[in-house]
Each structure stands twice: as C-alpha cells, then as structure tokens.
Assembly symmetry: C2
Homo-oligomer: 569 residues x 2
C-alpha cells in the first residue's frame, strides 16, 4: 500500500472533544471519524486492525468448539416480550416499527433471537452442547455516548451463546470460553484481568469480566498479586477481619457532642476509622426500614445493596429518620427502635468491641459486642472493597486498579429458555429447559483499549498482532532513483515474506513523515536516507522501544520479517 | 468439522412458504432460518459460503484500488435531508428516533454518509481518485419481502463509492469496477450478463447491472449473442426497423367495422401485426394529452414512458377520450384532433406505409406515410424490446432471458456532492463538486443466485469457490475400526493439503447420509463403504456431474486436492 493512496486524513491538532488517548489518537491518525454522537466510521487503518481482532476472536472461538453464524440486527419485539425484557430494558433499547406498524428492536444482545432460533430444532440431549457465535454491529442508545469507541451507540461485538444439558456441561463450556477469552486478550496484546463481576441486566449466576488495565478505565477493580483473585468493585468481596474499636470489653456510653462523622468520632477516640462503625438507615424496596452497619473506613456498596434491599431502595430522608425514631449522626446497632431490621457487614462478625452510635443525640457507645449488646438480623456482604483489604481467598492485601471491560462470560442457566419455553428431551425423555451461557467480546472496544495501553506522547504503538500494517518504509527522497529503487526492492522482499507493508511515498518533509508514522503507530519503520544509502544501509526503528539502528540494505528485510513473525500471535 | 457437531438442522419436507429453489433448498439444508418477514439468520453453512463471497469481493475491490472501511448503519437523518432523499425515498426507508427524539435512518445505501465523511477532508484534486467500500447489513422495508434471501428487509451488501476529479477519471474507475464485478461473478461461479440498466432512485447517468441468468429471476432482459449487448427490459433499445404495412403507397381509408384490436386488424388485412400501428392515448404528468404510436407487435414501455411523460402519466379514461375527440379502438396519427401531441416510436421512422386507426369510428387507414399524411411532434424510444428484435448495436436478433440483479455500477456524477456542498480544489484552485460513482454487490443475494443456477432435484451443487466445505467424507459404518481409521487418515491428509473437509460421522442410515450430503451440496464426496475398504478403495463422487468412481485409498486425497485446488478462483 502506498500512503499517497491511503485514505487516512491526519489531524495536526488534538481534537477538543477527545478526553481519552484512544479517542484523541485514533481521530488524529485518521482512523476514525464521528458521524453523530456515539456513531463512528472506521476508516481503512482502523478497519484493518478491527479485522485482525475479529480474526483472532474467530480463531479462538472455533478452537473452543464455537460455530459462527449471523442473526438479523432487527429483532421482532415479540421474542423480547416473551423473555420479559422488552419492558424492563429501558431507553437504551433502540425500538423501531416497520411500515405495517410491527415493532422491532435493534439487538443490543441476542439471547432472545438465538433461543428462538434453536427452539424446536435442538430437541435432544444428544445434540448438546451447541455453542453459536456471531460478530455484529450492536446498538445501545447510551444516555451519554462518549470516549470515542469506548462507549458508542453502535459498536462491534462478538456475542456467543451455548446450550447445555447439564450444569456440569455448562461449567465446562464456560471454562473453555474463559480460557479462550484470556487467549484473545493475550493475542491482541492486552494486559487484562479476569474479574468476578456482577451479572447486571443479563441475569444469571456466575460471570467474569475481562478488564484491560488502564488509568482511563471506567471500572474500579481490586486484584491479588499472590493468588490471582480479581473482582470489580461492584462484586469484590474480602475476608472477615477483626477490626476492634477502643475500650476494655465493656459497653460504655460516651458523650460525643456534635460528632456526627466517622472522621470526628475516630479522632475523638484517638483510634483508626476502621474501629468505628458506620450506620446507614434506609428504606428497602418494599418500604421497610433497615439499618446497615459497615466498618467506618468502608462504603456501602450500591450494587450489593440493590441485591439485598431491592432495586429502588433509598437512604432515609430526615423526615423518615424522625418517623422511625433515629437520630441522624448517632445511629447504631444497640438500642435500635423496634421494627427496624439490622443488617451488619459480614467482615465484622468476629469483632467484639465496636465504637458506634448510641441511638441518642450526642452519644456513642464503645465496646459494643454483637450477641451480648445487640443481635443482628443478618450478616451480609455489604461493603465496597478497597485496595489494602485482604484477599477473600488468600488474605494477602488486594491492589487497586482501573480497567476497561473488554469482554464478559456469563452462566445464564435456564433464565431465557424457561421464559421462552425452549426445551430438550433429556436421557429419560423428560423435557427440560436448556442451560445457557453467553459470552461477549467488545471488538471495537478492544481496539480502543489496546490504544489506551499502547501509546506515548507521539502516538499509537500497535502490537504487531493487530497493527494495520506491520512495517512502514519511508523513502525520504523518492525522487532520487537509488532511493526509489531500494524502496521497491525492500517492499518486494517484505511482501514476498508475507509482511504487511505500507510505503510512505508522499512528497512531504521528513519531519512530517516521521511524525505521521509514529502517530499511526506502525511497529517497525524503515527509513531510507541519503547518507545511509551511500553506505548501503537503512535505519530501522522499533516504534515500541524507540530504538534505531543502521542495518545493511541486504539484511533488513529478513531481519524485520523475523522480528514481525516472532510477534504475531 | 464433524457433522455430528454442526448446527445445520435439515428438513425432510419442502417448506410450504418457499417458492424458489434457493429459498427451499437453503431452508431444507439447514442453512437459513426466518426470524420474521424478510429477516433471516444465516446458519453456519450459509455463513461460511457468505464469508467466501465477501472475501472474493474484497480481493477484487482491493485489486481495483478500493479501500475497505465501515460506516455506521444508523445515519443521521440530517444528511438525508441535505441530499433531498429523506422525503422522497418513501416507506422503504426505515426511520428511527433516539432517546432525544433525534431522527436517524437505517442506511439502505450510504451515498450521503460517505459524502459527509470525506467532505472537508478530501480537499485537492491531488488526493483523487479515492475509492472506498464497505460490506455491511443494509435495510429496506420491502412491501412484500419474499423469496428467502432474494428480497429481504435486512441483507448483506458491498457498497462502494468513488470520488473523482474529472469525467475521464470517473469513467476509468467505473470501467475498472465493471471489470472487477465481472470477475466477482465469474469467481463465484455465476453466469451473469452486464446489462444496461435504468438508474432508478439512485439517480445519475450511466449504469450497468450484472444479471445472473435464472428462470426464477424477477427481471426480464434481452441480450445479443453476436456482439455481447445486453439490457434489462426497462432500458433495452433496438434498431430502426422498416416494418411496412399493406398497401400501394397511397393513403386509403378502409371500413373496419368493430375491429378495435391489433389482432383483429392484422387478420382483416391478412398482414403481420408489425405492419399495423398501436396508438395509446394518455395524459402526461402536466395534464396535456398525448398520442403515442408503437409497432403493433410491441408494448409501450412504462419506464421509458415515465421518463418522457413524467412519473404519474396515465392512459386516458373513456371520458378523457371523449373530451379530446378520440375514438376508442380507432386512434391513429392522421387527422388527429388539434392540441394533441403526437409521439411516435423511433423504430418506425423509416417506415412509409402504416396501417393505423383513422380517428373515425369503424375506419382504419392503410398506406399512411409520415411527413406526407401527418407530422409527428417527436420520434422517441417508446417500446419494450422483446426477443427477436434486432440488436441496437449489430442488428443480430436479440435473445430473451430472465435474471437476478446481483450487482450494479453507477456513474452518479455531481448529484450528491452538489446537493451536500462537497467540493475539491481543481488544478486552477477552483472549487468543484466531486464526480462520484457508486458500486453495489448484493452479497447475500449472490449466494441465493448461485443456488438458483447450481442445483438439481436432490439439492444444492456448490461451485468449489463458495462451497461451505469443499469435500465431505462419509464413513458408512464409523463403528468399524478400519473405517474410522481410514476416515481419520483421509481427513488428516486433506487438511494437510489445505482442503476444507467435513466428516459425516453421524450414526444414521447410509441413505440419509447420501441425501443430506447431496442436499448440502458439497462438491466432492468420499464414501467409505465396507466392500471398498476390503479392496483398499473408496468411492469418490462428483456432486456436479453425479459421476462416481472407485479410487485407491492411498490416492484419493491427492486426487481430490488437485480437483478442488484447480477449481478455486
């Protein structure tokens, strides 16, 4: 390919709307263009990289027993009604009517379509498991589309679905998919962690997200270097930890006038915040009052609270606090008014000496002991885990990071098959709903995540496996016959070796060439300069390390080919 | 691939809804399934074939200087307003609003999007030509979606667009595309003709459709075996032909009581129908009366008439005939009442002796001569050409056929660039609108057209180049160790040779295996039977010819590999 022919309009200035490196650099490198909010065109360079990611995904899916197909983007609303999602999915679901006023959705995900597809065609346990996938444009009408390809309204996804006869078989497929997903990240050059995830709107029991580590990531996560545990902050748990408060083992009421925050109370007792207890008064989704107690140095986790108290629970208003006889800033587990459910964080179970509100204005207790001074109605996992908390598996301190969710595997179980009446005959001839798994890879998001992980101040640094071209050749003065001749020869040699080459044949200043090639991030760059050519050498630059060396013209093609091929995955 | 794992639910019976062979056979072979009217899922076998077609298209596009990209499916309605198509496209255009009530369309074609994309980025004639394409799901809300993949509401299309500085350059790109399109048909195994086409809603001047010849085709076309001319019946023309009527060179009024049809008149004069003249009285779109005269054995062509008389012209009602003084059944060019425009078909220009209505009840003229007895206001191309008419280029008789439009190339000129203000600076620094071409391939329709051309009563007969698998191996009794062993060995040998193999390892009766493999249409089938194995042979079947031969086990893999590789394109 000649760069004079390539459609890749570069920008000299950083576009104002781009906050993230991936967004900014792909716009500047002429790889993407916005058509409307959250809707991007992938120009030739980006499209080449995306196709490589797709091929890696295909390769791993096929190796793991997946079969590729393609379902329609337009999905009859009827099947979304059957599954029950049509009315609960909310405004992110794009809805459309045809000329006969029949309702459709633009599939954000295809559980319903695929279940409807195999229903009455897969009939016996003997045909199972079946694992089907597609790579397709997906639609979600985000409230605030942003960050370029990171959060678009139309994006490329690989979505796969398995149909299994038994939980054991589902677990096997799920584990295979998890391994395939780890391979995909690795082959795309992404440093990613498989983290325990909340399963969100899709539903089901068990799920892992692959998080590409990046400061710009929207998700907060914790991980354990010792044992490999990782979880996003919506789902992470920690160990039971004994975090005692001040005191001598007896319950003492202490006058703490005006001290309503954890910080003030901890300072008053000259004790770390984790010895205090934070109390949150809330109304669950059925309208019942609850007091939740967490360690003073942790926060109540919204996602966990939603699971326990229902989507739509809320913190009590001042009026509600008064109605239930609770004193703002001094709520605690001891002497709680009648009729209020007491739920304590499970990490506190072994702790016998709590500093907590006394349910009396301007008073706290120290030495409050569960089982003796109060009796929780339940011990539950309530808190948002933070860096430094002990790993739930091995106890080593967890590290914190930010990540970009690039893929996710779920065990759905019979959620969709039951709702849609999709069954098979088991070994005893009994009709049973399929156990399903679903498996998604954000293909266009993987591209953006890769740029987040691989760039510097000059531009993108593509991993060889997903680079739009593996090598660029820059003849600095193509009008000199010798320069053009060497350029043609190296191009031919590299193409012969199966290397993807782009030649920057544009008649522009060398500085602009260097800048554009760095911006576009080709992994290896061969510079043909006048002085080198006289000595029979060219300059070879490694984009990732920035290292340059002079290499004999006769040797450079085979040297570069070896380097490239060793890094293909 | 093992067929026991393949997701391809076959049907024993012909599905009632399928009229066309391609629809019926792809349903029966478990290749496609309907999700809703005009919306199909492509199951793994069909998807493999489609990907091969896509790759052939890519290969030809890239070789012709095309660059692949991907634009969003959702297109901001604003750009369709700019081009003027938003309001004229009609109900086939699928419209959707987002959560902020902003209007979008699901692109049926992307002239607006691509023009908007390059606008202000392509700036100089030096950057031209640029030729961009994508392969994408397209949407058209057909009134009556039918015939399976042939006329769907969501379908796969390759759409490409060129931006050129001069008409000469546009013509060059257009010619290259035309050649690439011929190559695509040929490589996909399609017998197709490039026919002169009407440019329809897309607009523009010059266009050719590639028609795959098939009895089931929706389009009627004519072609010339002598010189290669071909055209669809909306656009075909013919030569000026001297088709004289009866008579001695003088104008004679003849009493023809009650003879109002061409057939009756021709019989009365004992003369062929082409010697008579058919008159059609109509009102053009501006409300003016017109009489159109065509040879008695031809029809007025609706499409040509629309171009001449405006979309919405109509044949006169009895009341209108009376109002303008015309006698139904006896209308002709001589003595036409004042104020009626007379337009005659151009093929009649050299004919001096017409048999035609006399504009008087129960009378015809013979020997009517243009220039002497009447003066047409215009000679125009009015008729629908039929088989047997002389070729407009060489005069040889045209043949008739039916075809499936699989692809089309257009010269759009400045239609979109002018409307949308997309300009470049020419050599003199003057701003000019781009000259554009657009080039479409119906990818999913090509698949269906291929089945229409390649099938028999037993099923599909895939050309090797787009077969889902090139070879199937049928071990008739996989439980016999020797059979399984030979099967594994042949599979390994063929895979080693790069051949795509599917093994029908299902534990079913041989007859069902034979039937399914023929239905699915794998080009070469290797049957491992008990008797042959004893003699060291297997049976090799050529699906296209039906020929079978016994081949030594040691030789069959290399023989089949040679056959397959020679037929890849």
């Amino acid at each position: 390919m000649k760069m004079s022919n390539l459609y890749a309009p570069t920008l000299k200035e950083d576009p104002a709307e781009a906050e993230l490196a991936s967004h900014r650099l792909m716009l500047r490198a002429g790889m993407i263009r916005k058509q409307a909010a959250g809707l991007y065109s992938y120009l030739p360079l980006a499209w080449r990289s995306l196709r490589k990611i797709e091929d890696i995904v295909r390769d791993e899916m096929d190796a793991a027993g997946g079969q590729e197909l393609l379902m329609p983007i337009m999905v009859d609303a009827q099947v979304w009604r059957e599954s029950g999602r049509y009315n609960v999915y909310g405004p992110e679901l794009m809805r459309i009517s045809d000329r006969h006023e029949r309702e459709f959705v633009l599939g954000p995900t295809h559980e319903e379509t695929v279940t409807d597809l195999i229903k009455n065609e897969l009939k016996s346990y003997k045909q199972l498991p079946v694992n089907l996938y597609q790579i397709q444009d997906k639609f979600r009408d985000e409230m605030r589309p942003r960050f370029g390809l990171m959060r678009g309204r139309e994006f490329i996804m690989k979505d796969g679905y398995s149909f299994n006869a038994t939980q054991e078989s589902l677990q096997e497929t799920y584990d295979d998919m998890k391994q395939a997903y780890a391979n995909i990240c690795e082959r795309c050059g992404l440093k990613a962690l498989p983290v325990v995830a909340d399963s969100g709107q899709i539903g089901g029991d068990t799920s892992v997200e692959f998080m590409a580590l990046a400061d710009a990531g929207e998700a907060a996560l914790v991980y354990c270097d010792a044992c490999g545990y990782a979880a996003d902050d919506e789902a992470a748990s920690t160990q039971v930890a004994v975090t005692e408060g001040p005191g001598d083992g007896t319950l003492q009421k202490v006058h703490t006038p005006g001290l309503t925050t954890i910080k003030e109370v901890a300072e008053f007792f000259e004790f770390p915040e984790n010895g205090t207890r934070k109390a949150l008064a809330l109304i669950d989704v059925e309208g019942n009052p609850v007091v939740a107690i967490v360690p003073g140095d942790h926060e109540l986790n919204d996602c966990k609270a939603e699971h326990l108290f229902g989507e739509g629970f809320h913190l009590m208003t001042d009026e509600e606090l008064e109605q239930y006889g609770l004193c703002k800033g001094f709520i605690g587990p001891v002497n709680l008014p009648e009729g209020i459910r007491l739920v304590c964080d499970v990490t506190l179970r072994d702790s016998k000496q709590w500093a907590c509100g006394a349910n009396e204005v301007d008073y706290h207790f120290t030495g409050a002991c569960p089982g003796r001074d109060f009796e929780p109605d339940a011990w539950e996992d309530l808190i948002t885990v933070v860096a430094g908390d002990p790993c739930p598996h091995c106890g080593a301190p967890l590290a914190g990071a930010r990540g970009i969710e690039v893929s996710q595997v779920f065990q759905l179980g019979p959620k969709y098959s039951e709702a849609m009446g999709a069954t098979f005959a088991d070994e005893n001839g009994e009709e049973k709903p399929f156990l399903m798994g679903c498996y998604g890879v954000g293909v266009s998001r993987t591209l953006a995540a890769s740029v987040e992980q691989h760039h510097d101040e000059n531009g993108i640094i593509w991993p060889v496996s997903i680079a739009p071209y593996e090598v660029s050749i820059m003849p600095l003065d193509p009008t000199i016959p010798e320069c053009a001749e060497v350029c043609d020869r190296l191009t031919a040699e590299l193409c012969e070796a199966g290397i993807e080459v782009i030649v920057d044949d544009r008649d522009i200043r060398p500085g602009v060439k260097f800048a554009d090639n760095d911006l576009m991030g080709f992994p290896y760059q061969i510079v043909l300069g006048k002085r080198g050519l006289k000595n029979g050498t060219v300059e070879l630059k490694d984009r990732a390390t920035g290292e340059r060396e002079d290499v004999a013209i006769d040797e450079v093609a085979s040297k570069v080919a070896d380097l490239v091929i060793s890094q293909r995955r």
